[in-house]
Symmetry: C2
Subunit: 409 residues, 2 copies
């Protein structure tokens, strides 16, 4: 039975092996199977409280008490003691590996270090999930490692940054950079469970909060005008408060609302297209030019910052095409600035951007499939951006950024 | 709708996004999706005949005329000119990368070389499949590269060895060795099309034909007594004739029958368990001790040779347990020898084998799940092999191998 059949058979009967003979009696076999993927993302306050079983018991059903725990080196400085106390209290024999996880360390060397550590500790294939604690880079690298290790070992993710909470921790992409190309190697592989604890944001630097706000803004711009309104009203305050209440002991109501709304919007886009069968993806907004911008600017721009520069550029381009009004363009640029995000970087030249577009066209199988904002909260795809148009756009954005700088000075 | 539902909804309605709130109003999301996997394996004589469109048109529907072609360096020496003439005649702009593909080169370095080559040539993400031409190692490494490149690029496989035709080219496993562990890193990823052309066997060395016969013998031993009878009667002749007719211009009838029967048996086992959800796998027969044997003996044993040593060992073990008669054990060992395969290697010590079993137990999630032959053509799983039992078995096999050597001398 194939998914295209029109009869109403039970899906568990799906798949099969067909043997056909051609006119010359040469056989061919077709193997058909359905892989059922299911993964959970759970908001879980104070996940390192020893009273909270979620992290220790995830993906194992309590059958094994050994865990390999990969921790971002930065996170370890703030939370290392609490992580150790947590697993001790839960009776887990854990091995901790500290991982330097900046964008320049998103490499196969880091995967290799992890594999050597896992081999030395030794884990069972299915019931001893790898635990990943850190930001987006760590989640991507450990996710790839777990997917490759013995062709697939379960993984439980605990994002500690805002971009981890709303972006890297929500989807199924893993990856490493290679040959100076962003995420050139990777897989689609779901973590068994991702636990989202916004209390980690309390110790996050302002810049890394802004980094996550860029991906939240992306969701607002392409599909959620209400979320944009919240960011416009409260974004700057959320940035300063790190999404916490005034007392700093809990996530603020506005913070919770923004995070949940961003995640829900992201998942609505991802779920029907988990393996990117469809290459027109609204969530690719801000990700057309940014892979090249980010790699060229390395290490000066964080991922969300490069995405924001891309969104600033394409907002200006959309305004040139009459897709968004000058007033709304200025509101968008204004929110970017209020969120502490850059709208310009000196690597932006028309030639660099055409090169970026060329690689993205290969990535989108021969067409630009470029999402552009239509007003605020909607988007459309175009295929016909040219070098002259990009040149005009870059000049305009440079002028706009220069005027903003002057106004601030 | 999940695959576990008992209602009879249309499968295309499968998948979805669930949002739940717990007692404290904390949300959790569950993403569910079905991935439909379908792949074809086609017997195709004289695939490099320019009149044969299969290889050039596979997985592209004729939309693009560019191909990145990874060719095993050994294959290139014999067939390089014909491969080039073929793609030229079919109007394909092909870039050829020669790959040293022995077991010691089944590494990330080889993946990295391929990625640099693919980046330099530049391919579209979906419509310019990578072509892999070579033996099992090449198919595994190029398969992994294609799976990782941009998180998945189509691949068309053309096995040129017997083990490629009946084993590596039939399943969905990709992999590289790492940290002295066989296939420590890899994925499950189906090639879009695999074309099986037994005419390549005409130029294969006797040893590499034997290497493939080991995997055919495995299928015979675990599930196909009729195939065993054919190997016992005709295996030695197939080895000498390289599966070709006396004139050497076509596959022999016996050769075709053996290949088709082995492939069909293998696919019957793989299709219902494509992602190894079930860790009791009959096709793991011969693959309990052999990963360690093969890596320790590197480069002295080919994959199929290490598998045969494992099968000889476990046949003797099965005889000790009364699962197979002494007469059938001798028939099995006799066929192994007739097929030019080893039944012994000096790395076989009880300690090494216990270490191998320990790693396999991790691989099979905490249990041995060791397939053992039951007579000829059937098998059962056991979980209770001990060091004393292994020691007895090794001593017995050593004695058996010594007597065979003496008899031959």
């Amino acid at each position: 039975m194939s998914i295209h059949d029109d009869n109403h058979l039970h899906p568990s009967a799906a798949g099969g092996l067909d043997l056909r003979l051609d006119a010359a009696n040469a056989p061919s076999w077709t193997v058909r199977a359905f892989k059922h993927v299911s993964y959970e993302i759970r908001i879980c306050q104070n996940v390192l409280d020893p009273a909270c079983a979620d992290l220790a018991e995830a993906a194992s059903a309590g059958r094994s008490r050994r865990r390999f725990v990969a921790v971002d080196a930065n996170v370890e400085r703030f939370y290392g003691d609490r992580v150790r106390a947590y697993f001790d209290a839960r009776g887990i024999d854990a091995h901790y590996q500290s991982v330097q996880a900046g964008e320049t360390r998103k490499t196969f060397d880091t995967v290799a270090e992890l594999v050597r550590g896992i081999d030395a500790f030794g884990i069972d294939r299915r019931r001893e999930p790898i635990i990943a604690i850190g930001g987006g880079v760590l989640l991507d690298v450990v996710g790839l490692t777990a997917n490759l290790y013995r062709r697939g070992t379960p993984v439980v993710r605990l994002p500690t940054t805002l971009i981890g909470l709303v972006d890297a921790g929500v989807g199924v992409k893993t990856g490493i950079n290679f040959n100076e190309q962003k995420n050139r190697l990777g897989t689609y592989s779901a973590a068994d469970l991702t636990l989202l604890d916004p209390s980690f944001l309390a110790t996050l630097s302002r810049r890394h909060v802004a980094n996550g706000l860029a991906e939240i803004l992306k969701i607002a711009l392409i599909k959620d005008r209400g979320l944009f309104d919240i960011l416009e009203a409260d974004g700057a305050a959320l940035l300063e408060s790190r999404f916490q209440t005034l007392s700093g002991t809990a996530t603020s109501a506005a913070g919770s609302a923004v995070i949940q709304r961003a995640i829900h919007g992201m998942l609505e886009e991802l779920q029907p297209n988990l393996w990117e069968a469809k290459l027109e993806r609204l969530v690719d907004y801000g990700h057309t030019f940014s892979p090249t911008i980010e790699m060229r600017a390395l290490p000066s721009l964080l991922h969300g910052e490069a995405v924001c520069v891309d969104m600033a550029l394409t907002t200006v381009l959309a305004e040139h095409r009459g897709l968004i009004s000058a007033r709304d363009r200025d509101r968008v640029i204004g929110v970017m600035t209020a969120l502490g995000l850059p709208i310009w970087h000196d690597v932006l030249t028309p030639d660099t951007l055409m090169g970026a577009l060329h690689d993205t066209v290969r990535h989108r199988d021969g067409r630009q499939r470029l999402p552009l904002p239509v007003g605020i909260g909607d988007a459309a795809f175009v295929d016909d951006v040219t070098l002259p148009e990009l040149t005009d756009t870059v000049l305009d954005l440079a002028e706009l950024a220069r005027r903003r700088e002057l106004a601030r000075a």
